[in-house]
């Protein structure tokens, strides 16, 4: 009970419960059919933003590779969706359509087992998690950090994108995996299935939030923040920063993969463009807009940016890249703590004015400029 109070005040808990109820129960009941997949997509982006915030906001690692984990999770789910309808494709073959098209006669070994949902579900989280673990171990072990780490994660994502664009890799090349029909026997076109997927995403989002909140308010979370702010000092205090970072990094990758796995059945396609380096950087801007190290702010940021994107790409397509570019510049220059930070600043100003005092600036959450 004390632990729960550590995570949130009673008032915050009740607000949170109300919000969760609204998102997970009320919205799927009242939202019109056409809106449900879009909102479900946003929920998945929210989970990805949480993952990004955990690793960037709390551990100071600006990952430019999270789109890779997101897409890998999506591919895992996509493989299940392809295998579960074996024999019902255009070519009536046991193999997925694109393999027939490539004149393949046998299923590649890494596709085996994906006809089973539990296996696919585990694999779509475990495979990206394992990749993150191995990659992170090499990175953190040799104390690669700051912008260095960012560009190496970007290179990893870039290489993976190239790999997945190849037909020979066995994931459908640049068309990716698509033409899904059913998930767990339920037709994906049915509004009921879509609402169920939406609800699942909502539950996952709430669960992911609680998990992240639990971690960052724990003793472990405090050490992670200490590592972010002063890695050398925390090492001298006896905390092996490598392990702390590696845990947060891997967990974040798994969360991102979960988001991807929930995302794919709702949008009906997964292809390598989902894992392009630019998508990773967009995830960073969601978090930056909302506010780093705030969790809820990150989710909010993901929704605001993607809402803006949905609206602007339909209304003035040529302006979207400008808007996104300007957002990157404006947020970093004028809104370093994001919307949440702005809210907090306004609030403290208001309180100060009431009390007739000079406002106290909230402490910065910037990681120190790490000398390469």
């Amino acid at each position: 009970m004390d632990r729960l109070r550590q995570m949130h005040s009673t008032r915050a808990w009740s607000l949170l419960a109300a919000a969760a109820l609204l998102i997970a129960v009320v919205v799927p009941l009242v939202a019109p059919d056409y809106l449900v997949p879009l909102l479900g997509k946003f929920l998945c982006f929210g989970i990805a933003a949480l993952a990004m915030d955990l690793v960037w906001g709390y551990a100071g690692i600006l990952s430019l590779g999270h789109a890779l984990f997101f897409a890998l999770g999506g591919y895992g789910m996509g493989m299940y969706l392809m295998r579960s309808i074996a024999g019902e494709g255009v070519y009536r073959s046991e193999l997925p359509d694109f393999m027939v098209f490539l004149d393949w006669h046998r299923l590649p070994w890494y596709w085996h087992g994906f006809q089973s949902f539990p296996f696919a579900a585990v694999m779509s989280l475990a495979a990206p998690g394992l990749l993150a673990l191995v990659f992170g171990w090499f990175m953190f072990r040799s104390r690669i950090r700051g912008v260095y780490l960012s560009i190496v994660t970007q290179a990893l994502t870039y290489a993976a994108t190239l790999l997945f664009f190849q037909n020979a890799t066995g994931f459908g090349g640049n068309n990716g995996l698509t033409d899904f029909k059913r998930i767990l026997g339920a037709p994906l076109r049915e509004p009921g299935t879509r609402r169920a997927l939406y609800a699942a995403s909502a539950i996952a989002l709430v669960g992911a939030y609680l998990l992240c909140r639990f971690i960052v308010t724990s003793r472990f979370g405090r050490v992670v923040r200490a590592v972010r702010d002063a890695e050398l000092k925390s090492r001298f205090c006896g905390y092996d920063s490598t392990h702390y970072k590696l845990f947060v990094w891997t967990l974040s990758a798994v969360l991102c993969a979960l988001a991807g796995a929930l995302y794919v059945p709702q949008v009906g396609i997964i292809n390598p463009s989902e894992m392009q380096p630019s998508n990773s950087i967009e995830m960073a801007i969601w978090v930056a807009v909302g506010g780093r190290g705030t969790l809820l702010g990150a989710v909010l940021g993901a929704w605001i940016v993607n809402g803006g994107k949905s609206w602007l790409t339909a209304a003035i397509p040529a302006a979207w890249l400008y808007a996104l570019g300007a957002l990157f510049v404006a947020v970093t220059l004028f809104l370093p703590e994001g919307l949440v930070g702005l809210g907090a600043r306004l609030k403290s100003k208001l309180i100060a004015r009431r009390a007739g005092q000079v406002p106290v600036a909230p402490p910065s959450v910037d990681p120190p400029a790490s000398a390469p």
């Binding site: 600006l62 912008v147 890249l321 400008y322 990681p367 000398a371």
Partner: protein, 523 residues
């Protein structure tokens, strides 16, 4: 040349030559063939225009039974021997040329060409003669070889003789021919040699003599290994030019990253802007021969001023927050790409090589170095040297190095650090702009041009060590060449992944890169 002419005039006076040429315009096939043979025996290059005219159906028979060459453009008749426009007695009768005559005239023409004063003509003739397979070909070629002075034609003649001798019934002639072929490693012979070595219809080898077979196998291996060498050198040059472009990008990155500690994600877009500046200059000068020379300062100044502007307005405020600089500059790169897209369109634009960069130089048989690639490599050498000079030998360079090593102390000594920051950023972007000029000569120019280079050039910086020119040069060369050499072995994508894995493993051992600063400077 004079020797050749006097040699031929000494042999034959103009009277039999004139008769033989007139015989070409005869109505009877037999007379024509006979005249062709006669011309071959006379071996006088002055008969070439008449024979050419015969082959092209331009030869006419005048009423005075002399041969004339008809010029269909000017409607003039020319004397078949002198080429002078003459008032030929009409009517002029066309000469019917059968395939048989053509077959007979071909080697004779080639033979006469062998005596031509023009080396190019002799070269072509030697090649034509060796494939035509005439009986006297060997004798003619030998005669030509004896009086040939030009080394290139000499080699071609020797090869032509070898080709003829390869079909000789004398095994010793075949052996000698194979020896010449093996030394030249000319891959034109590859299929002939493979045929010689392959079993014939009755199962026995086509080449009866064992010694000749061994020599043929040796010659074949020599040709194949020469082909491999040529392929390897070609890939190497390709890799070098790729490395040059990487180096252009990485030089600027290494300088700005070393000095300012920020990553400029819009750096690739500076390459793109430089390439578009080249395109604009090309359009503005209507593709003048020397537009490229004008494009170099234009591209440098354009990208450098964009760089200074960026530094003054955005990057300056983010020096304490390197990760956020990364995001802000990414945003800038999006804006730049979209702007170029709106101005020039989303399609690639084509920047042509000026004529003095088109084509290439043939080093040895089959190995052509394209001037554009050679030029790019040369250009990067010049630019690297200039950057080194600026950083090591000028007052500005001294200030840059001082600020890089200790910003606070440099400021105390009166160095205007902010101005140095802006200028260095401009310099880095300008170098990338020069890279864009180079890139425009190698391939297509499109709005996303920079995106494909930025990650590789970051890898160069990571590998080479920050702020180290020597490191950037070594890493760019290494990555560019390794990438290209891996490509044929493993495919382009796998090559890239292998390089990435290599870099990840490499920085396990040397996190500071190849050429880390030693001592306490890096704290």
């Amino acid at each position: 040349m004079t020797a050749a002419v006097s040699w031929s005039t000494a042999h034959a006076g103009p009277v039999p030559l004139q008769d033989a040429i007139d015989g070409l315009a005869s109505a009877s096939d037999d007379t024509i063939t006979e005249s062709v043979t006669k011309l071959g025996a006379l071996d006088d290059p002055r008969a070439i225009p008449a024979l050419d005219a015969l082959m092209d159906d331009r030869l006419r028979l005048g009423a005075d039974s002399h041969a004339y060459i008809w010029d269909s453009k000017t409607h003039d008749a020319r004397d078949a021997l002198t080429g002078q426009v003459v008032n030929a007695p009409r009517p002029l009768k066309e000469v019917e040329v059968s395939n048989e005559i053509r077959r007979a005239a071909d080697p004779v023409l080639a033979q006469l060409h062998l005596g031509s004063p023009d080396a190019e003509v002799r070269l072509a003739a030697a090649k034509a003669l060796s494939t035509a397979g005439s009986d006297q070909a060997a004798a003619l070629l030998h005669r030509a070889l004896a009086r040939e002075r030009d080394p290139k034609v000499h080699e071609a003649l020797a090869l032509a003789i070898a080709r003829v001798d390869l079909a000789s019934p004398d095994p010793n002639a075949r052996l000698a021919a194979l020896d010449i072929i093996a030394r030249s490693a000319n891959d034109d012979f590859l299929s002939t040699l493979q045929q010689m070595l392959a079993p014939g219809d009755n199962g026995a080898p086509r080449e009866p003599d064992g010694r000749v077979r061994a020599a043929a196998a040796h010659a074949r291996d020599a040709i194949v290994s020469h082909q491999h060498l040529v392929g390897f050198v070609g890939e190497l040059l390709h890799g070098l030019s790729l490395a040059s472009v990487l180096l252009f990008a990485a030089l600027g990155l290494a300088v700005t990253f070393g000095l300012l500690g920020v990553i400029n994600m819009a750096h690739g877009e500076m390459l793109m802007l430089g390439a578009y500046a080249t395109y604009t200059v090309q359009t503005a000068t209507h593709g003048s021969r020397f537009y490229l020379l004008a494009a170099i300062p234009v591209a440098f100044l354009a990208t450098a001023s964009v760089g200074v502007l960026l530094e003054r307005t955005v990057i300056r405020h983010l020096y304490k927050r390197p990760l956020e600089t990364l995001l802000a500059t990414w945003g800038i790169s999006l804006g730049l790409i979209q702007t170029i897209r709106l101005i020039f369109g989303a399609q690639n634009v084509s920047v042509a090589n000026p004529d003095w960069l088109a084509g290439g130089v043939e080093i040895t048989h089959g190995l052509v170095l394209p001037w554009a690639r050679v030029g790019v490599v040369g250009f990067v050498v010049v630019v690297s040297a200039a950057v080194w000079f600026i950083l090591q030998r000028t007052r500005f360079g001294l200030q840059v190095r001082a600020v890089t090593q200790n910003r606070a102390m440099a400021a105390c000594l009166g160095i205007p650090t902010k101005r140095v920051d802006a200028l260095v950023f401009g310099l880095g972007c300008g170098i990338a702009g020069l890279g864009g000029v180079a890139l425009s000569q190698l391939g297509n120019v499109g709005p996303e041009l920079g995106q494909s280079y930025i990650i590789d050039s970051f890898m160069v910086v990571v590998l080479g060590g920050v702020g180290r020119l020597a490191g950037a040069v070594a890493a760019a060369l290494g990555l560019g060449v390794i990438n290209k050499l891996l490509e044929p072995l493993s495919g382009a994508v796998l090559g890239k992944i292998l390089v990435l894995v290599f870099i990840i493993l490499f920085i396990q051992r040397r996190p500071q890169g190849l050429f880390a600063l030693k001592g306490r400077l890096e704290t």
